[in-house]
């Protein structure tokens, strides 16, 4: 099997051994808390609270690196666009014709924090949960089999496609296709790159469909899984508490918004 399309890191830790749905509930809780957190620095606090479970799963460093990579372009844009081009606003620093506005800077810091918390909570789930186990868990809870099939297959074929795309790019370049230079040249390079990728892949779809049908893919009724997922009473309780906690956080935030200053 090719490596699935995911940042998942295989580690032997308690976090990794948790039932996938428990980690999904945990990520949802952080997600909701990250959006609802009040103040300029609230979302940053939520992000910091992601670190204990990440340390437990020994994924803290990859989580920080991946989150940094994802958030940096947004942070730079926010700082430049909203910080310097905030209409009106109180200037706090002037650089030539531009000035940094206080309101814009506060907005940029708050938005960056929110994006950081959103990205971080996803990464906590992704880095510690095998995608196929998550799909299996969702399938066992009644997610239609067609849906889990689509998601699992996608995760497996995307890396193969990326490889194919790179091969085509190299092959066409070696035949003299201009992939650099002026925009028009690059637009013209598009079709010779896209066409072989799509035509090649579409044609073997039919064969795969036939292969699945002769293996009773369309048959209804329960199916057996090769791997059994471990779950426990404690984790079931934890999941309910996390979902309840997420609702409570939203409630508290709305209460603050109504009664607050």
């Amino acid at each position: 099997m090719t490596t699935p399309f995911s940042l998942y890191l295989d580690r032997e830790t308690g976090l990794h051994r948790l039932h996938p749905l428990t980690k999904l509930a945990l990520a949802l809780f952080y997600l909701v808390a990250g959006i609802a957190a009040p103040g300029v620095w609230g979302s940053y606090t939520v992000f910091l609270l992601l670190l204990p479970p990440a340390l437990w799963g020994r994924i803290a460093r990859p989580l920080l690196v991946a989150a940094g990579k994802a958030v940096l372009p947004f942070a730079v844009s926010l700082f430049l666009v909203q910080g310097f081009f905030w209409p009106g606003g109180t200037p706090i620093l002037t650089l030539g014709p531009f000035s940094l506005k206080e309101e814009g800077l506060v907005f940029a810091i708050r938005s960056t924090g929110r994006i950081l918390a959103l990205v971080g909570s996803f990464l906590l789930l992704t880095l510690s949960t095998r995608p196929d186990r998550l799909m299996q868990a969702l399938g066992e809870r009644g997610t239609p089999q067609a849906l889990t099939y689509i998601l699992l297959t996608t995760l497996q074929i995307v890396p193969r496609f990326q490889e194919k795309a790179r091969t085509i790019l190299d092959a066409q370049r070696s035949r003299g296709l201009e992939t650099e230079g002026n925009p028009w040249q690059r637009v013209r390079a598009l079709l010779p790159l896209i066409q072989p990728l799509i035509l090649g892949s579409i044609v073997d779809i039919e064969e795969r469909a036939i292969a699945l049908e002769v293996r009773a893919f369309g048959r209804s009724g329960p199916k057996t899984n090769l791997v059994a997922l471990a779950d426990s009473r404690g984790q079931q309780l934890a999941r309910w508490l996390l979902l309840f906690g997420a609702v409570a956080v939203v409630g508290a935030r709305l209460f603050l918004a109504v009664t607050g200053p």
């Binding site: 947004f74 926010l78 209409p87 496609f161 035509l199 049908e213």
Partner: protein, 195 residues
């Protein structure tokens, strides 16, 4: 209802992961060519045309969810509803016979892009503070500078890129389908939409 069930036959179910992979792989090629386009919905449009609006919507939705939850492009997750609508619209345009003439294909793409821009603006504004972390943020800066709000600025930024992007995507799908063997196209639930 029966029509939808027919749309999701085994061929469609096998097609959807391939379409998602096409979205992601071509999205990355285009990124490598440094073009001011995304072209990350070609697979979505393809499924919409060949297997109907609902299969197209599912492809779009799952594309962004998979891309996001894989941890490789987390920012895309929140645009999943927009991607779903792109697949949906491609499916409806095909149903109305717009995928048989090249200029109707382009028109359909432009309209889809406009709708995509309208729907992504609030997401860009409220989730990402009005920026996308790419070069088109310059447009946001210009419009913020003349005093426009964050939501309108995000919309202008979307309009500057989405209609062109979707028109090109629609046109590519039209050319691809014309290049496919008819025997193959005929096996899809909505083959009558393109022939």
């Amino acid at each position: 209802m029966n029509r939808i069930k027919e749309d999701f036959n085994t061929l469609t179910l096998v097609m959807i992961p391939v379409a998602i992979a096409i979205n992601i792989a071509i999205g990355q090629i285009v990124y490598a060519l440094k073009l001011p386009l995304y072209l990350d919905s070609i697979g979505t449009v393809l499924v919409g045309v060949l297997a109907g609006p609902w299969a197209g919507a599912l492809t779009g939705l799952l594309s962004n969810l998979v891309w996001g939850v894989s941890g490789l492009n987390v920012a895309y997750t929140w645009y999943a509803p927009v991607a779903a609508v792109i697949g949906l619209l491609a499916g409806f345009f095909a149903q109305w016979g717009w995928f048989k003439t090249w200029w109707k294909v382009i028109l359909g793409g432009l309209l889809t892009g406009l709708v995509a821009a309208i729907l992504s603006a609030p997401i860009t504004a409220y989730v990402y503070g009005g920026v996308t972390g790419s070069g088109t943020d310059v447009i946001v800066a210009v419009f913020r500078n003349i005093g426009l709000g964050i939501l309108p600025s995000s919309f202008v930024q979307g309009v500057s890129s989405d209609p062109l992007d979707k028109a090109v995507s629609f046109l590519i799908v039209y050319l691809i389908i014309r290049g496919l063997p008819y025997r193959f196209v005929d096996r899809f639930p909505r083959s009558e939409a393109v022939s």
